[in-house]
């Protein structure tokens, strides 16, 4: 229930509830408002777990530190301690970590699993509501298919949290949602990360201009894109004022709810994170100007192929950058991609993240971090292995607003832990065990691959050994 009320905040915050504190007349939420706030709440429940002690492993704590010959103790779903010579509580499972590496689970801040699931056929491709450039009213979670076999493959790659975004064909693509890869979930609510704020996917550049320009509709240019964001934020400002006025006076009927403007007003209230698809430095700078004009904060630029050119600006604005290690050139806005982008953002003090945007890439974000790390070192930077792990754990947790809950192995955090066969910054390392909230959800070689309902009964499976 706690989780339920937390996400209620996210849903209607700034409209009725947050305004209560300053309202001249105390206002009890109406039944309508309460129902709206409770809709689509997380029903995630951690799997049962036993206290688990991993002994004598090399640990990257997700916060930039490496501990050699260290133990990791989890209990009650949380990290109890990381250190040497820890004592196993009664009944604890003890795992010998000698020669192995232990890290926080990988967090992918940009995935389309579930909304672009396998198999990819017309009916399953539900990630881009390409019917209007502003679809801030749609929520990615309402397209997520929990049976997407991609969730199981991602867990085998060490993923314990992922942010599902709508596509980038619209200026406002809709709300994103932070999920747990709960294997066997039959509803998306079971997968929703409790208390994680929703996001709004915005998109710069070629995609919206191409989608609508090709139909002779607005916007067809980059300047059209910018006019489009501004026009809708102006409408959102008015919507927000109307609600604030009503919350203060309760005169007459409340304003009609508008799902599109509700999302944008949530952004203006700081309750909804802005996750913005943007490649070029100039476009990111323009987006920052828009955020100043309307008074909101951009949590992260995604793809951010030219982040390395404006790290100082991103730092001043406290904006993270979610990047690929080496994608480039597939579009002109990705032409200036360099292999050192992630490392350069990190080295200049920025918040660097590795993202996948791919059902294949999400299975090995550790290798993407490794590429970026080695290229940064070859460029003369001094970055440790453990610092590089921040790019796939703490920093994405920060950009997704869940840093207080996961992303590092600090005491009290959710016990999202991966045991790797070797240093995970290698082509050859594989995730041997994955824990989510202290419960083991994957063990390589033991039911190595989780088969979703979709995959059951397929005749080829009888041919597997």
């Amino acid at each position: 229930m706690r989780a339920r009320f937390k996400s209620m905040m996210a849903l209607l915050a700034g409209l009725s509830l947050a305004a209560c504190a300053t309202a001249s007349k105390p206002h009890e939420p109406s039944a309508e408002e309460t129902a709206a706030a409770n809709a689509f709440a997380s029903t995630y429940v951690p799997r049962p777990s036993v206290p688990t002690l991993i002994r004598n492993a090399t640990v990257f704590d997700g916060n930039g530190a490496q501990l050699d010959n260290a133990d990791v103790l989890m209990s009650g779903g949380h990290i109890v301690s990381v250190g040497q010579h820890l004592t196993a509580p009664d009944g604890a499972t003890v795992i010998d970590g000698t020669g192995k590496y232990v890290t926080p689970g990988i967090i992918d801040p940009h995935s389309h699993l579930g909304v672009y699931p396998s198999p990819a056929i017309d009916a399953t491709q539900n990630g881009n509501e390409l019917t209007s450039p502003d679809t801030a009213n749609v929520w990615a979670e309402h397209s997520v298919w929990p049976m997407d076999p991609g969730f199981g493959r991602a867990v085998a790659g060490g993923i314990t949290t992922l942010h599902i975004l709508p596509g980038s064909g619209n200026l406002f693509g809709g709300r994103g949602v932070t999920l747990r890869p709960v294997l066997g979930a039959t509803t998306v609510q079971e997968m929703k990360f409790p208390g994680a704020p929703p996001s709004l996917k915005m998109a710069c550049g070629e995609n919206p201009a191409r989608v609508y320009g090709s139909r002779n509709q607005f916007p067809s240019t980059f300047m059209g894109n910018v006019a489009g964001y501004r026009a809708d934020f102006i409408r959102a400002q008015a919507y927000r004022r109307h609600w604030q006025h009503w919350n203060e006076t309760h005169e007459g009927d409340p304003p009609d709810r508008d799902l599109q403007l509700e999302t944008l007003a949530g952004v203006l209230d700081g309750k909804i994170l802005v996750e913005m698809h943007c490649y070029r430095s100039d476009e990111m700078a323009t987006a920052i100007e828009i955020s100043h004009e309307f008074g909101f904060h951009i949590a992260a630029f995604h793809h951010a192929v030219e982040a390395y050119k404006i790290v100082d600006l991103l730092n001043r604005e406290h904006i993270c950058a979610a990047m690929w290690a080496d994608w480039w050139g597939f579009k002109i806005e990705a032409y200036d991609g360099i292999r050192e982008n992630i490392a350069f953002v990190h080295a200049r003090g920025g918040c660097a993240m590795v993202h996948s945007d791919s059902e294949v890439g999400i299975q090995r974000l550790n290798q993407e971090a490794a590429k970026a790390l080695s290229d940064g070192r070859r460029a003369g930077l001094h970055i440790t292995d453990a610092e590089a792990w921040e790019w796939v754990s703490r920093n994405p947790a920060r950009a997704l607003g869940i840093e207080d809950q996961t992303g590092t192995l600090a005491t009290g955090k959710r016990a999202d832990v991966v045991i790797w066969s070797a240093n995970p910054l290698s082509s050859y390392a594989v995730a041997e065990r994955v824990f989510m909230d202290g419960a083991q959800i994957y063990e390589r070689g033991h039911n190595q691959q989780y088969f979703s309902d979709f995959e059951l009964g397929q005749t080829y499976r009888e041919n597997r050994q």
Partner: protein, 420 residues
Amino acid sequence: MRFLLALVAAVALAAPVSAETVLIQGGRVVTNGAGGTLDRGDVLIVDGHVAQVGAHIAAPRGARVIDATGKWVTPGAFAAMSEVGLAEIGGSGAPNDANVGGTIVSAAADVGPAFNPMVTAIAITRIEGVTRAAIAPDSTSTMFGGQGALVSMNNAPDSVFRDHAFMVVELGETGAQRVGGSRAASWVAFEAALRDAREYPQRYQRGQGGTVLNELDARALQPYARGQGTFLVHIDAASDIRELLRVKREHPELRFIIHGGAEAWLVAAELKRADIPVLVDPLVDLPDHFERLAARLDNAALLNAAGVRIAIAPGPGTVDAQQARLVLQLAGNAVANGLPWDAAFKAVSSSPADIFGVGRELGRLERGYIADVVVWDGDPLEVQSAPTAVFIAGQQQSMTSRQTELRDRYSPVLHPELPH
């Protein structure tokens, strides 16, 4: 036609005689040949060819000596499928010669003349250790994708060293779409096209025309239909592969390479018997199409264990003009999923050379081979490794690219303050 092709190939493959003499000393040498891997060995390059491989080779007079102590020395990587050189930018409405639209040309499409050795992707690819690539069109409007070529990554005007190297044909879901949406039509259309090509030019001279091919395409397809060239077949499903095996039984002269083969592990023994090699993508493990519900990460390992000849390449639909360099990461992942290291490295070097018919000249560090040699700072299949020196046909290549110039302009090491 064949003789002409052979002549062109022989000329293009010849290395410049002016190439310098280089001795690469003391590295871990992966020969891909009978010599196996030398923990500490030397490679002597003379006149663009490998002159000698072994321990303690004396440096000839005037030879430049490169110390490779602690490094790996290997044949150059060979990207078994790419569109490098066919586009500077993949999308954005930029010109992309990998996409053959329209209905005038399909089988006759030929990427050899379209290849541009000056695109920036060439240097970007080369400095990651890839020295050769097979290139092909991405798609046409018919089931025939056109003809591929083999190219070098040295920016030279004569980079295309094997033209008309293979003929792409779509025989899976995509092929079915091209002939109206059903495999019930695509196999019929394929065999009808073979007949048109075999009967070229007579039926066209008679004014009868082709059943499915225009004259231009029939002419281009003819050598392949007669078994004088190799079809590169985009196909994933085990059931489709079995159908291909039937065609092979009925027309033993036809030569096939499978590209894709996500479900090939299910028919590995039959593929071995028919000696049909597979270009496999070791990252394909999702049932993202109904033709690859049985995709699995150890496909490459299972095929190799069954004796099927494999090379590693991104699967059909994911081949691009920018990222041929990632083939080494693909091979490393195949190792992580059970493929022996030697087989994985061969799958991105000597195996593509063998499969495309240039394995006597390229892909090995043995006496007489063309000196495509890469010196690495570590295991080349490890994502953290990178080349320190790249030779193509004995000539040391520049390690600068558009990306390294951007890197240096914005480097925090070289420029602590950003320019603005």
